[in-house]
């Protein structure tokens, strides 16, 4: 599909030259207005840049207004829980030691603005974290430490501040690809309480980890295709299917996940994506009926059958998306590209993607969260 409203930076700025000094951007025609009863569109968006987080308010018609830019070390992953924004910084040094870092920001409920609560180091040699997830009960955060080959667990205090690393799981492993000389934990998400699903790009593994008393152990491991490099995961609502995007061979896999027993089955389906890049991201539609994937050059929308299997995707939306985020109301897909945040309307019936529209210009965005 071509990009009928895809604007280059110069033309865009020419058009936007008369806009508010607040830097409002975006087109009111790109945003799907929520019509479902009980499902509210997000009011705020948080975009991680190179060394900062931009806070945007989102109007009812989908315009992004930048309200705040606050310093952050290198926010590669973000998650919101109980009025706090948690960030993993993809850095390789903290306090002169080889460590990544995490941050906790309090979110003002009315304005959406951020205030830094605290910033802490990860474990020694825990460099270049790639992903983080907050437990459903909000009491712990798990970080996938790509460079350090480990997972870190941090407790969350009553006031939302992060406590120091309390649990470390050191991984070993490798694969046949040049980028798989060692383990590279790449993605984490929580299953039911105490269970963490992970993907390791370096060791070609998908794992189920358990957290108990702030310690983290392995419950179950599943080997995937050698050299595929699993690097992004998504869990269907209801948690019976696990989807994994592989960055090194451009595929998406499906696994059955039994949360009661705590087991991931062997892969039951693998589908090739349209493009083979060196990255892979997923976003699950909140209905659980559609999965969006990108391997760097375009976004595919996969229908999910009742069995959890993926059906043939619709047209590829040619957006060089490096991150995807489905809004909780299911109406829009937000995509990060090399220099922008795009909003893409989701068809309420088919979940097909509409025309991407630039919501905000951000230099080299890394991460996104909405509230």
């Amino acid at each position: 599909m071509k990009l009928p409203v895809w604007l280059d930076r110069r033309r865009f700025l020419q058009i936007m030259g008369g806009m508010s000094l607040l830097g409002a951007v975006g087109s009111r025609f790109g945003w799907a207005v929520a019509t479902e009863v009980g499902t509210s569109p997000p009011k705020f968006a948080y975009i991680g840049g190179e060394r900062e987080i931009h806070v945007y308010s989102i109007t009812a018609d989908g315009r992004f207004f930048r309200r705040q830019t606050i310093a952050s070390a290198h926010p590669a992953a973000m998650a919101i829980s109980r009025g706090n924004l948690y960030v993993a910084n993809r850095v390789s040094e903290y306090g002169n030691l080889p460590r990544g870092s995490v941050e906790a920001f309090a979110i003002d409920a009315r304005t959406g603005l951020l205030e830094l609560n605290n910033r802490l180091p990860l474990s020694l040699s825990g460099i270049l974290p790639q992903d983080l997830a907050v437990a459903p009960d909000g009491r712990s955060v798990v970080v996938a430490v790509y460079g350090g080959g480990a997972y870190n667990v941090l407790s969350v205090d009553q006031d939302g501040r992060l406590a120091r690393v309390s649990g470390i799981l050191k991984e070993t492993g490798s694969g046949p690809h040049a980028l798989q000389a060692c383990a590279h934990p790449s993605a984490v998400t929580f299953g039911r309480a105490g269970s963490v699903l992970t993907a390791d790009q370096g060791s070609d593994r998908v794992s189920l980890l358990s957290i108990s008393e702030s310690q983290i152990t392995v419950s179950c491991r599943c080997e995937v295709t050698a050299g595929s490099g699993p690097s992004s995961i998504a869990l269907a609502p209801g948690g019976r299917s696990l989807y994994v995007a592989h960055s090194l061979n451009g595929s998406v896999s499906v696994f059955d996940y039994d949360s009661m027993v705590g087991r991931i089955s062997d892969c039951k389906q693998t589908v090739p994506a349209s493009h083979n890049g060196e990255m892979a991201v997923l976003a699950m539609h909140p209905s659980g009926k559609t999965l969006y994937s990108s391997h760097g050059k375009g976004i595919q929308a996969w229908k999910i059958a009742a069995s959890g299997s993926l059906e043939a995707p619709g047209e590829v939306t040619e957006v060089p998306a490096i991150k995807l985020h489905a809004t909780p109301d299911g109406r829009n897909l937000l995509a990060l590209t090399g220099d922008a945040v795009l909003t893409i309307k989701i068809n309420s019936g088919t979940h097909a993607l509409g025309t991407p529209v630039t919501a905000a210009l951000v230099s080299r965005p890394l991460s996104i969260a909405t509230l």
């Binding site: 080959g149 690393v165 470390i168 991984e171 490798s174 000389a181 060692c182």
Partner: protein, 500 residues
């Protein structure tokens, strides 16, 4: 099978401790178990179990590590090698083997009694061979024979491959020679678990040595006299001390803080044939200090570094039984300490001597500096043999003096005061034109200095982006390659290890 001492074992609170009572700095950084390994099979099995559990292993032999390299391992397992202390030869193998758990004192005695040979290693008899040898290992016989690592011809080391499997590698110049070279000088905790050091040859043990100590009370010291003592010492080793005839002489200035009462100049000497039939060299050296009139007074014996506790009307000190000398104890955690080091290629400058005097006479309110000292070691001799540059990664082969700055105390409330004293001293020492502008405050390798000694690690040096050049010099890229090859998952790491 290794003996696992976990948190609920009564021995845990003792065995978990580092000698330096500062570590771990926070209890949350402490280990969850100690594995006492009795042989290499135990060690391999233990290491595999630790890896498979997703824990991090840290390694200890004598436990003298100055920093928290083995103690800072949150909920990890400490693999204790102290019981792997066999010294001798295998059947049908003429090479000497020293287990990493052997203390230097035990190794010296066993090698002497069994074979009449020795290691030219350090002066502290309870230091374990494990970290000492791989980091360099020098002492009284090193000017004559080189460092201990110069004599290593093989190491047996357990490594963890990319898949997480433990394997025993017997490294020699023909098998994994790059790993052998890296283990000769890079220091412990980098590539794997060394279980044995192997030596094709070892130098003969001296039959006898002459020892002498000259005492210079601070009460009789002036700045001028202090300067002359240091200059005399430094000039000797920068000039006459390079003559192989003098290599049997090793001398130390114990530059203790004024609060201690004395500084001393000690020497040990033997002829290259291991006798003391001709003491001309020692006499000549000692005579250089006659003008400064060393005192005949013997320094008072060191007082206990633990404050007496009161239990009723009498002062007494509580000691864990396993720490007592009667039990063959190894006194862990009884003293807090901090260290720094430097290699010097030339004699002291007038500036450096002034800085020494300033800080050795400095008083800091509320801080007892009576156990603060600069140990000034003679260096050079056989340690500067250039052929060892390619065989080892110990790159400092042009120095004539080696410094170890130390401060000891018992009260945690004095932590900041002692650290301040040492940091101020060191930074000022290397804030002169002798250090180029880009590397001020450090003895950066160049015309005057050769960096720092990895066996005297100092985390303060991480403040400098080039810290790895101070410790590893031009060999750091080579060491990174070895690291990537033999420990691709960076299982073995600490604050100053080779970066992955």
């Amino acid at each position: 099978m290794a003996i696992l001492v976990s948190r609920d074992d009564v021995r845990f609170s003792n065995l978990k401790r580092a000698r330096n009572a500062r570590w771990p700095a926070d209890p949350a950084e402490g280990i969850s178990s100690v594995a006492l390994c009795l042989d290499s099979k135990d060690t391999a099995e233990t290491l595999q179990q630790v890896i498979s559990r997703g824990q991090r292993p840290t390694i200890r032999s004598g436990g003298h590590c100055y920093e928290d390299f083995f103690a800072n391992n949150p909920n990890g397992t400490l693999i204790d090698m102290s019981m792997m202390n066999q010294v001798g030869k295998l059947p049908n193998d003429q090479r000497y083997r020293v287990g990493v758990g052997a203390s230097l004192g035990q190794a010296y005695q066993d090698l002497y009694k069994l074979y009449n040979v020795t290691l030219p290693g350090g002066t502290c008899d309870s230091v374990g061979a494990g970290g000492h040898v791989t980091g360099g290992g020098y002492g009284f016989l090193s000017r004559l024979y080189g460092t201990t690592t110069d004599w290593v011809s093989g190491v047996d080391i357990l490594t963890v491959d990319a898949k997480g499997k433990v394997a025993l590698r017997p490294c020699t110049e023909k098998q994994d020679p790059d790993l052998l070279r890296a283990c000769r000088g890079a220091g412990g905790g980098n590539f794997g678990v060394i279980v044995d050091y192997i030596f094709d040859k070892l130098p003969p043990a001296p039959q006898e040595v002459m020892v002498s100590t000259m005492i210079f009370p601070w009460a009789e010291m002036t700045e001028e006299k202090f300067a002359k003592i240091l200059d005399t010492f430094g000039n000797y080793f920068a000039t006459r001390g390079q003559d192989p005839e003098t290599w049997g002489l090793f001398a130390i200035i114990d530059g203790s803080h004024q609060a201690s009462g004395f500084i001393t100049v000690s020497a040990q000497f033997c002829n290259p044939d291991g006798t003391c039939k001709d003491t001309k060299v020692l006499d000549e050296f000692l005579a250089l200090f006659d003008p400064y009139k060393p005192s005949a007074v013997v320094p008072r014996p060191p007082y206990s570094n633990r404050p007496a506790e009161g239990f009723g009307p009498h002062a007494m000190t509580r000691v864990l039984w396993a720490d007592t000398e009667a039990a063959g104890g190894v006194r862990r955690g009884s003293s807090r300490s901090k260290y720094k080091s430097a290699y010097m290629k030339k004699n002291f400058t007038a500036y450096e001597i002034k800085v020494f005097y300033k800080h050795l006479t400095r008083a800091i309110p509320g801080v007892d500096l009576s156990r603060s000292v600069v140990e000034i070691d003679s260096y050079g001799g056989a340690m500067n043999r250039k052929e060892n540059l390619e065989k080892t990664v110990a790159f400092q082969r042009s120095s004539v003096i080696k410094l170890q700055l130390m401060t000891f105390w018992a009260n945690p409330a004095e932590d900041e005061g002692h650290n301040t004293w040492l940091r101020d001293f060191y930074k000022e020492l290397y804030s002169s034109p002798e250090v180029d502008a880009a590397h001020q405050e450090t003895p950066f390798p160049g015309e005057n200095y050769e960096g720092c000694y990895i066996n005297y690690p100092d985390k303060d040096m991480l403040d400098y982006s080039y810290w790895h050049e101070l410790y590893y010099g031009p060999n750091y890229e080579f060491l990174k390659q070895v690291k990537k090859k033999y420990d691709p998952n960076n299982v073995f790491h600490h604050a100053m290890s080779i970066r992955a």
